[in-house]
Structure formats: C-alpha cells, structure tokens
C-alpha cells in the first residue's frame, strides 16, 4: 500500500521483499558549525536517504552549489562521518568497518574529483597512484602484474602507458589528467564510482567523450555511478535515476526521464527553466526572483525552498514536507499532499 513515505526517504517496500541495496544511505545528516566559536550549526546534509540498487546504474545527485552534494559524496566515500543516520554498503555500515574491511571497501567504491590538477600531487609522478592502487588494493606483488594492470586501465581510457610513464601532472592537459584519474579509479574494478563534478573543469567540446566513457563503463564493466553535478543536460543524457538537492535536503528523486521532463517540484521546474538553450531566448530573458541570504534558508523550520517558491503557501514555511509519490517520482512538496 503506497501512502506517505517517511521524510526524505526513497525506500520502496515492494511486496514484502526487502532487496539488499548496493548502497543505502539512511537518514544521513551532517552538521557543521560556524560563526563565533563554531556554536551556530547548520545541516549541510539534512536527513537524506537514497539508495543504489545492485545493478549497474547511474544515479545523479544534482543541485546548485551549497546544496550539500559534495558533503554527501564525502560521507558516502567514508571521508566524513554523518552526525545522524548511516551509510551502508552491501549491508555493512561503512563507518564501522575494521581495517581489513576498510581496504575491501576502498576496492569496491572509488571516486573521481572535479579538478584534475588537484587530484594528483604536483610533486609526484602521476603513475605512482596507479601502481599504489594495484599494490595496495589488488595485492599485486610483482611489478609485471601491476604494470599490466595499469596498462589495461589506461588503454580503456584511450591512453598508453608510454605517454604517461614517469611524468608529472603539469605535463598534461586537464582532459588527459581526468582520464588518468578515471583510469586510477577503474584499475581496482570497483562496483561503484562516485564522480564529483567530473567534467565541469573540462572544455565543453571534450566533455562528452568522458561522459560517454561512463556509459561504456556501466555497460561493459558493470560499474555503477553516483554522478554529482549541477549540469542538468549531461545528467539527463547519462543517468538512469536522479535526485535533486536543495540546501541540504533531497527535494525530488526518481527516474531521470520523469524528474527532468515532468518537473514536479517547483525547484526542479525553476532549475530547468533557467537553463539557457538556443531557441529559448525570449522566455529565458524574463525576470526571476533572486536568492537571498543562504544561511537563513538552511535554518528554516519549513520547506527550505519556500522563500523563493512561486507556489508557496503558509504550510510551506511552517512544516517540512515529507516525500510524496507523484507518478514515478517522489517529491518533497506540500503541493502533492492530497494525491
């Protein structure tokens, strides 16, 4: 029986069988202090729940800067501990792993970062990390085995060991470095890759090659992705599912087609309509409401988008809406309460 689901949750209990998810983020909240003596607190990630199933799928977490997507990514990767809630990988709480298991987790879940030049230490050779991964996570002892592994990985990304060997990051372009970063992640044959804005610093004309590679990796190597971005167009192109975040809360999620084309949540609607596109000139030049002070929005007791929402009414400012199912998606908005 489908009714109102718990706040922020994305769980679907289908016919009494509880599937084990590949990744299960359960009511995760991450709080940061700020201000004098760090006393004031705000929730960078506010009660977010989502999951990734055990089939190779690309899940996008989209939102503008400050929405908490990077903090969420760090928490999923284990670099940060949530203040509330937990992150489970294959049923195990990733923040309660023993050291041997931690290595296992590292092999299963990898990451790609936004700035290819920061991803590698300017003082070290780039291939060093690839060999480290081969040695530490795959346990390859012999140099030959490791080299073979590194070579394979690089070739999948369209690079050869020869052109990469022994060089420092400054000798490559952003696009090349990013490919090497992906090769590094790929080397250990992970099940899940968290990609944080992987192409936003790459030239537009070269972005699609990398995005297409993600699709290849999903298809051929059965790798799932959590693709974090603010670029809705590439999100639409590449993802199976998408979650929209605003100021720390998940406001809408579901299949990419449904969420981005139907746009149930007012914020999703505003986001999509703000995308400049050829042919949309007149529409785009119309005036919109600008964002106010950000911290206030984080701390509001009701829906965080209420201040800017064109359809807000009183309840919106007083109470946080739970997730309501709307067609194939789930939307956290009081507008859909009655359905």
């Amino acid at each position: 029986m489908r009714g109102v689901l718990p706040v922020g949750s994305m769980h679907e209990v289908s016919m009494g069988v509880d599937k084990m998810f590949l990744l299960d983020v359960v009511n995760v909240t991450k709080v940061f202090g700020y201000g004098f003596l760090g006393r004031a607190r705000f929730r960078a990630v506010d009660n977010v729940s989502l999951h990734q199933e055990d089939e190779p799928k690309i899940l996008t977490i989209a939102g503008e800067s400050g929405c908490g997507k990077t903090t969420l990514a760090r928490t999923i990767l284990g670099f940060m501990e949530p203040n509330e809630g937990e992150v489970k990988y294959k049923g195990r709480n990733i923040h309660r792993l023993r050291s041997k298991e931690k290595l296992w987790f590292r092999k299963e879940v990898q990451a790609i970062f936004q700035d290819p030049f920061e991803t590698f230490n300017p003082m070290r050779k780039v291939d060093a990390y690839l060999y480290e991964a081969a040695k530490n996570l795959l346990g390859l002892k012999s140099v030959d085995e490791a080299t073979k592994c590194v070579e394979e990985s690089l070739e999948f990304m369209g690079l050869s060991l020869k052109e990469v060997e022994g060089k420092h990051p400054s000798e490559f372009s952003g696009g090349q470095l990013q490919r090497m970063s992906i090769a590094r992640a790929l080397l250990v044959r992970p099940r899940l890759i968290v990609a944080d804005e992987p192409v936003s610093m790459i030239d537009a004309s070269m972005r699609m090659n990398i995005i297409n590679t993600f699709k290849d990796m999903k298809r051929k190597l059965e790798v799932s992705f959590i693709y974090i971005t603010h670029d809705l167009a590439t999100a639409y192109y590449v993802s199976d599912e998408i979650g929209i975040m605003y100021r720390g809360s998940l406001v809408e999620e579901g299949p990419a087609q449904e969420v981005l084309m139907e746009r149930h949540h007012p914020y999703t609607k505003a986001l999509v309509s703000s995308l400049p596109e050829p042919g949309k000139r007149e529409e785009w030049l119309k005036k919109t409401k600008a964002s106010g002070l950000e911290i206030k929005e984080f701390l509001s007791p009701g829906c965080k988008y209420a201040n800017l929402c064109l359809k807000a009414f009183e309840k919106c400012t007083k109470q946080k809406p739970p997730m309501f199912p709307v067609r194939k998606a789930n939307v956290a908005c009081w507008l859909y309460e009655s359905q």
Binding site: F79, Q110, E118, R124, A128
Partner: protein
C-alpha cells in the same frame, strides 16, 4: 650580493673551526702571549683564537638546539595535524603552555638549577625546550590545510595508509619550510645563549660568543678600560653571523616559494 655575504658568513665559520681544532690540540690553559691579531684579553688569551673557538662552540650549541627543536616541532605538528581530535587537542594544549611561558626566565631558572652539569651540548638541548612549540604550531597549520587537498584523498583511495600519505604526500611540501625553520632556530639559539651568557648563566668555562662578551663586559669592564678589541670582536661576529644566517634563510625561502617575491 646576497650570495656573496652568505658565502662570507659561511666561509668564515667553516674556516674558523678548522683553525680552532688545531688550537684545541693544545691544553686549554691561560697562556699569556703577545703580538696577536686581535689583541689579547685580560684573561691572557689571544682574542683571535678565542673568537674562533667561540664561533665554533656557539654554532655547535645552536645546531644542537635546532636539530632537537625543529624535529620535535615537526614531529608533533605532523601528528597533531594528521590525527586531529583528542590527540591534537592534547598536543596543542601542551604546546600552547610552552608558548606562553616566557623563554628567557624559564631558561634562567633551569640553568641556575643545573649549573654544575652544564656543558655546551646540554645547554643547546635546554634551549630547545623553548624553541620547539612555535614550529609545532606552524607545521600543524600547514598539515591541516594540506590534508584537505584532493590528492590526499586520491592517495587514500589508492589504498595508502596514513603514515604513507604523510610521508609521500604531505612531507614534500613541508621540507622547504623545515629547512628555513632550522636556520632560524640556529639564530634564535645563538641569541638565547648570548643573552644567558651575559647574565652569567652560560657555560663559563668554555668559549662562546656570549661568554666572551660576558667576561669582557661584566667581569673585566673592558669597555671602561678601553680594551675595545675584546668586546668589539664578539659583537661584530655575532652581527655578521646573524646577518649571514638571515640572508641564507631569506634565500632559501625565495627558492622554495618563488611566487612570494
């Protein structure tokens, strides 16, 4: 210009110990002698040779301090920065305590208590007590900011353990600073020792620059009596040493941080 002065400073100090070593072969009594380059002191010593010995001792002492202090500082800063949490807070608490306690008075007390056993190396070690906290804080600050950089995460994702990350990723950035800090600590130590000496709290049996000043100034009133060569030479040398080490330090920092010109 810089390099010339640097060379000058270093060349002198390099040459001098060699000279003093030959002097050291002779029993260290107070032989009355005449016709010496910088005159003689009322204590019957050749000022020039004394000066040479002093430079050697002062620098030895300072090196001692720098070796101990800068490395302890580095170690503690690294540990505090990388571990964070309770370890960090405890270490910083201790560090801050030492920062607050004024150095000279503390040393005065310690040296007075240990007067019998004081030797040059020991004094060097004692001075390091007050010179390790500040570098520790500095290193910790640098580690904290380096820790957040993406490549540290990359290293962790490649399975590198915390220690390895420290050594291979973070240390290279710190080495330049460490060298500069080392140089500065030498200066600091010399200054400290001189200060202690003038108060009569140094190793009075040996020759250091500070001790020379002590004897000349306090005990034998060289200034008043016009035996300027005795007092002027250690002071001039001190100044030269300071300048040359400082310039070295500046040169090093320009080398490691060319952007900050």
């Amino acid at each position: 210009m810089l390099i010339a002065l640097l060379l000058l400073g270093f060349v002198i100090s390099v040459f001098t110990p060699t000279d003093t070593r030959t002097w050291f072969a002779v029993p260290k009594d107070l032989p009355p002698s005449f016709e010496h380059p910088l005159g003689t002191s009322t204590m019957g010593r050749d000022v020039f040779w004394e000066l040479c010995a002093s430079i050697k001792n002062s620098i030895t002492l300072a090196l001692m301090t720098a070796l101990i202090a800068s490395h302890i500082g580095l170690l503690l800063g690294l540990v505090a920065g990388i571990r964070g949490g309770i370890v960090d807070r405890m270490l910083m608490f201790i560090t801050d305590t030492f920062i607050i306690i004024p150095g000279l008075p503390l040393l005065m007390v310690v040296v007075t208590v240990l007067k019998q056993w004081i030797t040059i190396p020991l004094l060097g070690a004692l001075i390091s007590i007050v010179s390790w906290p500040w570098p520790a804080r500095q290193v910790r600050a640098m580690v904290l900011s380096l820790r957040e950089r993406a490549f540290v995460y990359t290293a962790m994702l490649s399975g590198m353990g915390t220690l390895k990350v420290l050594l291979r990723e973070i240390m290279p950035f710190l080495l330049g600073w460490h060298l500069i800090n080392f140089t500065n600590t030498i200066l600091f130590a010399i200054g400290m020792e001189t200060g202690l000496a003038i108060l009569g709290l140094s190793v009075l049996g040996e020759n250091t620059l500070g001790v020379m000043i002590y004897w000349a100034l306090n005990q034998f009133y060289a200034l008043f009596r016009g035996i300027l060569w005795w007092i002027a030479s250690p002071i001039a040398t001190l100044t030269l040493i300071f300048v040359s080490f400082y310039l070295t330090s500046v040169g090093l920092s320009e080398h490691f941080h060319p952007r900050l010109k």
